[in-house]
């Protein structure tokens, strides 16, 4: 590096001082504002602002919703509540499909002669499935019971479907 280049490199950047001052200023402000937002008075003020907003919008919200509801009903158009119910039904159907998927997985596993899960895992799996299973209406339960024999007729051995995951059974199968 020549002397001229070295001198140029040593020249102070005019913006450097500005950046230093700016950063110092922001740091002070940052600490001050963090203390402010972490105070009870800020919590009280923000809570009051939120309440004011909710109070101000409340008189308009319900009449607007009622008017929209009436309009949609007169036009025979589904409301958001209808869509919400429909979405709930779809989710329920998805869960039923997921339950079937779980059963099929287990049947496939048994048919392929895979090593069965240990008794502890089997119990855990069952309890997880039981907790995951949504409460189906009586009509749905009847339908699923009606469908059960058809699974057997499709080729699943009766023994397999009726087999209980008892400790003794699973050990025998493992051997």
């Amino acid at each position: 590096m020549s002397d001229a280049e070295a001198a140029a490199a040593k020249q102070p950047d005019p913006m450097e001082k500005f950046h230093e001052l700016r950063d110092a200023y922001l740091e002070i402000w940052s600490k001050h504002l963090i203390d402010t937002v972490n105070s009870d008075s800020y919590a009280q003020a923000s809570g009051a602002a939120l309440n004011s907003f909710l109070t101000a919008t409340a008189p308009f919200k319900e009449p607007a919703e009622q008017a929209m509801l009436k309009t949609l009903q007169q036009l025979n158009v589904p409301t958001s509540a209808d869509f919400a119910v429909l979405a709930g039904r779809f989710t329920n159907v998805e869960m039923q499909l997921d339950n079937l998927d779980a059963k099929l997985d287990r049947i496939e596993k048994l048919l392929s002669g895979a090593k069965p899960a240990s008794p502890v895992q089997e119990v855990a799996l069952k309890s997880a499935e039981a907790s995951a299973r949504p409460v189906a209406p009586r009509s749905a339960r009847k339908t699923s019971q009606r469908n059960r024999p058809s699974l057997r007729t499709r080729g699943t051995p009766k023994k397999t479907t009726n087999a209980k995951p008892g400790r003794g059974n699973s050990r025998k199968r493992t051997k």
Binding site: L26, I34, N38, Y42, G47, A58, M95, A128
Partner: protein, 355 residues
Amino acid sequence: MEQATAALDQLAILEERLKTVTRVMTSKAPIAQTPKELVWTLNKAKLYRYVPVVPPQERHPIPLLLVFALMNRPYILDLRPGHSFVEYLVGKGYDVYLLDWGAPGPEDKHLKFDDYTLEYMPRAIRKIKALSGVEELSILGWCIGAILTTIYAALRPDDGLRNLILLTAPLDFSNKEKLTFGRWTDEKYFDVDRILATFGNMPPEMIDYGAKALKPVENYIGNYIKLWDNLDNPQIVESWHAMNTWVRDNIPMTGGAFRQLIVDLYRNDRLMKGELVIRGERVDLSRLRANLLTVIAEGDHITPPCQSESVLGKVGSRDKELYRVHGGHIGIMAGNGAHKRTWPHVEGWLAPRSN
């Protein structure tokens, strides 16, 4: 003449800088690029499996499930190529799954922790077991995802969970002095039922404001100054762009879950007290027996370290470790130093426990 030329040059540079700022602030960065396939869905939730890049004989047999918070997109774990935790894990031979909770609609406002932990998670986990052919798995939960995984792990200890990694987990709400969110949502000032009656779900704008207002200068000013100062560095600009894309992409939190977060956890600290009840079952942390790694961000302003430390004394795990990292709530996993500190430590802990 020379001065005029120099001034024109300066103007051209300024124009270029402004164009870059406009681009990164108004467009979406290409994120979540690691190849994956959708393997399961339920309502808005989706389970993805990342395509392995390591030969089967070199892979770890125990799959890993990633569970992120409810009110942010989970692609922070797969932010951009070369800077993705998921990509890193897949490269290390893990069978990685990601549970994306999705964006809840008004019809989901009643969804609670109960549904997420005992309806969605067990089903997703069953699918993982069926796909991987293994009866055990590891779970990594981050932020509220860590609350959900902790509850699940305590309620279903025999469901095959071998390893549990908690990142910046807000579990202990006893130290009211250090919890700014707790102060804001105190029942004296914050009427959670009235808010949820108005909005149904907690609006993302309010959640975003809450997170940013904890450090107002850094989030509203410092962040943009950092961009302006580094506009000549394409690497920093692209990193900023990707992070800004994620920060702006907020989603609502279901009303039921938000109410539980405020009332059961922030106000009453029911999880640590052993009083939290999920679908009639009391969550007893001593039943959590999985190997446990808790990662704490020392500079975390959203989940202060005091919220994650005490869980180690409550769980029944024999193999447990607390790891402290210098950084913030998101920075420890998605910041520039994450691939040098947090990722290798998490992977180093998980590897011998995944075989």
